[in-house]
């Protein structure tokens, strides 16, 4: 669940927020009555809707584990747009550091499987054995390994573009269609780049963000390491959040940040907490052009907004997203660990599973399409031992 309050703690925009050691949120997520899901911000709104129940398609859809409700824990505490704080996922379990992105979610899942400790964002490590069942990931495993302990079940296809805002209409135009190579120069730079007289301020989400890793990889920057001119708010910047930009942009400058197209669609469609200002000043850019040099937008339509299959099918900027689980628990031949209820939640043929991509209004897939996801390009379940 993401409840947004702008500028919490009375801090003015643009000033670096110091890391808070232990944050006690004003609202506590309830514990799960069955499984606990943590990880990526990109998938959290769609999974929030599915697990809490939603009318996004016009039909009521709620995904349950048998008859029990499922606990989905957002990447950031309700009301916050920085990583931090703790969550308690199971009735008798420890409170532990809230995993704040794809990588953190998989790390916590591995610790849960191995009955070891997990800590992050200044929160001390505690044992999390059995406290995490599924991790949301907006990126595939970095080190795939056959028969690894983790199974990566495709969730839906997203695409990554970038959000931008200009100090003037001319500034906005100058950054509306930055190519991959231009983005490569901007995000590898040690000083702000200038294009046609517009100074570009490049923002980047924190290093655990799957959206950030994918974006940097797509524009040809390796090792998830950006240039020193890039702003990350001391590696705490939230992903898919248009409020990270300053509210007042000086003329002659423009700000950009990578943004999930699915998140853009669901926020604009009003089915996820909307961070995009109503003024229309913040827009979604595109690095892609067709054979006639026309920009290919990431999204189409006005109300409702829909993903653009042409952009999504691009092999560089389109990406399959995943739900990660312990492989043994969804393997029916593993008599010791097989969990039939968990396996059903990860069976795409069932309209009541989290990974379904049917089109009907009464299916999980129908809900996910309103949240900006399309069918994955490859339904193969990947394996790995780590994120």
């Amino acid at each position: 669940m993401k409840i947004k309050r702008p500028l919490v703690l009375g801090v003015a925009a643009g000033i670096i927020l110091s890391t808070v050691a232990v944050v006690t949120p004003a609202f506590a997520d309830p514990v799960s009555n069955s499984y606990a899901i943590v990880g990526s911000d990109t998938l959290q709104s769609a999974v929030d809707a599915l697990t809490n129940g939603t009318d996004a398609t016009g039909a009521r859809v709620r995904i349950l584990a048998g008859s029990a409700s499922i606990g989905n824990f957002d990447a950031f505490a309700p009301g916050y747009n920085v990583a931090g704080g703790t969550i308690q996922t199971k009735p008798a379990g420890n409170a532990f550091a809230r995993p704040s992105g794809s990588g953190a979610g998989v790390d916590a899942l591995v610790a849960s499987i191995n009955n070891t400790t997990y800590g992050a964002n200044g929160v001390a490590a505690v044992n999390v054995g059995g406290l995490v069942d599924i991790a949301r990931s907006s990126a595939p495993p970095a080190s795939p390994k056959a028969n690894g302990i983790l199974a990566w079940v495709p969730f839906g296809r997203d695409a990554v573009a970038y959000a931008y805002v200009g100090g003037s209409e001319a500034d906005a135009t100058n950054v509306a269609n930055l190519s991959a190579s231009q983005l490569n120069a901007i995000y590898g730079a040690s000083s702000d780049q200038v294009i046609n007289g517009t100074t570009i301020k490049a923002y980047l989400p924190q290093s655990g963000s799957g959206t950030r890793k994918f974006f940097l990889g797509a524009i040809g920057i390796s090792n998830n390491t950006a240039g020193t001119a890039v702003y990350t708010n001391s590696n705490t910047l939230a992903e898919n959040d248009a409020t990270v930009f300053p509210t007042s942009i000086p003329s002659g400058t423009a700000y950009i940040v990578p943004f999930s197209a699915a998140n853009w669609v669901s926020q604009k469609n009003g089915v996820a907490p909307n961070t995009i200002p109503a003024s229309g000043a913040v827009r979604l850019g595109t690095p892609l052009k067709d054979g006639s040099d026309n920009p290919i937008p990431a999204v189409t339509g006005t109300s409702p907004l829909a993903p653009n299959p042409t952009y999504y099918s691009n092999s560089t900027f389109g990406r399959d997203t995943y739900l990660v689980v312990e492989a043994a628990r969804i393997d029916s031949t593993n008599t010791a660990k097989y969990d039939a209820t968990l396996a059903k939640l990860l069976d795409p043929s069932r309209p009541s599973s989290l990974v379904n991509m049917s089109t009907s209004a009464s299916s999980a897939g129908g809900v996910k399409r309103v949240y900006g996801f399309l069918t994955v390009s490859d339904t193969t379940v990947l394996r790995s031992d780590t994120k």
Binding site: G53, R60, V61, K344, S352, S360
Partner: protein, 557 residues
């Protein structure tokens, strides 16, 4: 522990109660044959994946892989336009909740067996609400699965916590334990066109005579049933029911001239056929004034002389008021006019048979008369004779029998019966250990008492007997079964709710015992009951399945 209900005969229910162990599939899920009339609209079951309809007779699983949602229309193929599948909206409804209940308890949320989230309708009918049974997470699914049985599955609209504004549901039969189930499908009504033709047994008739109109209603491949209205012009004359596709009506026209008749078949739905209305073309009947009867000329009395008597003799029968003229057999088969004298009176045209002519003389005064037979064309007297009439002239009269029906205005006694609404077997499973003893509980399953004896009002007792529980050679006394009666519903104006018996406590129960009683001087209408059952096994008894028989007998006082 398992318990079962087995129907013995009219007016009684028998229950077989067993105990700890595995419950067999006691209720075999057959397809319910009738869509419940209590649902506010027909609903069809379609899958949640592609919204394809589940064919009638499909056996579904408790956790159906493709899910089960409700639709307002049958969906034989995956439809491209899903809008018609939205259920109706009822003004004032705020929320909708998927539920399973006992039949008859759909509008009593406190009695639902299991249900799902209550969600806002936002002033629109529910769209594809999900009723997959495993998803009904509130309440108790085990109360359904333990014994199986017949239930209602659907959604209820509410305007407040206990106020149901609409309920859309179907009847399902659920197998115990496995939870496989079958559902009732609404009857699809198809229009059947009809043609009506009208015929008459005469198209020209004298005023005062009747015409029989026959209407025939036909449909392709089917025989329509229903009513036909007969019209003269725009005036409805009569309504008659079709028999084998036709109906007749005899009409006596009351005026001369051209009378125009027609017949209209009234639209009628029989099962899944809706026979549409049709009207015959007009039928004309000419009604004419009959010519006045012609009285033939008579010969003068002087023509009756010795030369024309020709040996005839006459006799008069005062009982039949007829005069018989005996004539020469040579006259047989002649058609003759018969006259009486002195005042020449025409008695009619007759045919001579066996040397006789018989005529009605009742209108003649007492006294001596002559009777003669005359050739109709030549007016020649063929034969004549004298006769004496002793009785006076009889005034013409006709008699009619009147049968008048009187409707019964005094009320009469109605039905008195006991009906099982749930399975024949009650399974009490999953015992717990409480204070060192095995305790298991469950519900009996609903049943209905119908007492419509609104005149005699003798009252009744619902006697309950329980046999001892046995498993092989081990026995547990019937006193181990606790029963707490529950009233589920009570219907009937002027009816009185019966008094429930005091709870029988497990361990100290005593049978036979009255589940419910109704004092004399009252009648109870339609009452539905259920009961909470508790079975405590005494210490030292081996674990396993114990069997008993519970019998409910409705006894009039």
């Amino acid at each position: 522990m398992n318990a079962s209900l087995r129907r013995i005969g009219a007016g009684t229910l028998a229950a077989l109660i067993a105990s700890v162990g595995f419950a067999g599939t006691a209720f075999a899920a057959t397809e319910p044959t009738t869509f419940p009339s209590g649902s506010d609209a027909p609903v069809y079951l379609v899958d949640a994946d592609t919204n394809t309809g589940y064919a009638a007779g499909t056996q579904l699983e408790w956790d159906s892989p493709l899910g089960v949602v409700l639709s307002a229309v049958a969906a034989p193929t995956a439809p491209t336009d899903t809008a018609p599948m939205r259920l109706p909206f009822v003004s004032g409804s705020l929320t909708e909740t998927p539920f399973i209940s006992a039949p008859g308890a759909e509008r009593t949320p406190s009695s639902w067996k299991a249900w799902a989230d209550e969600v806002n309708l936002n002033n629109k009918g529910a769209f594809l609400p999900n009723v997959t049974p495993i998803g009904l997470g509130y309440g108790s699914q085990s109360s359904i699965l333990s014994a199986g049985g017949t239930f209602s599955l659907g959604v209820a609209y509410r305007s407040g916590p206990t106020t149901v504004t609409a309920a859309y549901f179907t009847t399902i039969n659920v197998d115990a334990t496995t939870g496989t189930w079958k559902f009732a499908t609404p009857v699809t009504i198809t229009d059947v066109a009809t043609t009506t033709t009208l015929a008459a047994d005469a198209t020209s008739v004298d005023l005062g005579n009747s015409v029989t109109l026959t209407a025939t209603v036909a449909a392709s491949g089917k025989t329509p049933s229903g009513n036909v209205e007969f019209y003269k012009g725009a005036t409805k004359l009569a309504t008659r029911a079709l028999s084998s596709g036709s109906a007749s009506y005899a009409v006596t026209p009351d005026a001369t001239g051209t009378q125009t008749y027609s017949a209209k078949f009234v639209e009628n739905t029989v099962g899944s056929d809706k026979f549409l209305a049709s009207t015959s073309s007009d039928l004309s009947v000419e009604v004419t004034t009959p010519p006045p009867p012609v009285v033939p000329n008579a010969p003068t009395e002087g023509a009756l002389n010795s030369g024309t008597a020709n040996g005839a003799t006459a006799s008069y029968d005062a009982t039949t008021h007829k005069v018989t003229l005996n004539v020469d057999a040579a006259n047989n088969a002649k058609s003759v006019n018969v006259f009486a004298y002195s005042t020449a009176t025409f008695l009619g045209t007759q045919t001579v048979t066996d040397g006789k002519v018989v005529a009605d003389a009742s209108g003649l005064a007492a006294g001596t008369h002559k009777v003669a037979i005359v050739d109709p064309t030549t007016y020649e007297v063929i034969a004549w004779a004298d006769f004496d009439k002793t009785d006076a002239a009889i005034s013409p009269s006709i008699t009619k029998t009147i049968n008048a029906e009187a409707a019964a205005v005094a009320p009469s006694d109605g039905e008195f019966s006991l009906t099982n609404l749930s399975g024949d077997t009650v399974n009490l499973t999953n015992p717990a250990i409480v204070n060192g003893k095995s305790v298991v509980s469950g519900t009996l399953g609903s049943f209905k008492v119908t007492d419509l004896r609104q005149v005699s009002k003798p009252g009744w007792n619902l006697q309950t007997s329980v046999t001892d529980f046995t498993k092989g050679t081990d026995t547990i006394a019937a006193s181990a079964l606790g029963i707490k009666p529950k009233a589920v519903s009570q219907v009937g104006t002027d009816a009185t709710a019966p008094t429930l018996g005091d709870e029988q406590v497990s361990g100290s129960a005593s049978y036979p015992w009255y589940f419910a009683t109704l004092a004399a001087g009252k009648y109870s209408g339609t009452s539905t009951y259920d009961a909470d059952l508790t079975f405590t096994a005494p210490a030292g008894k081996p674990a396993g399945t114990y069997t008993s028989t519970l019998t409910l007998t409705l006894i009039s006082q």
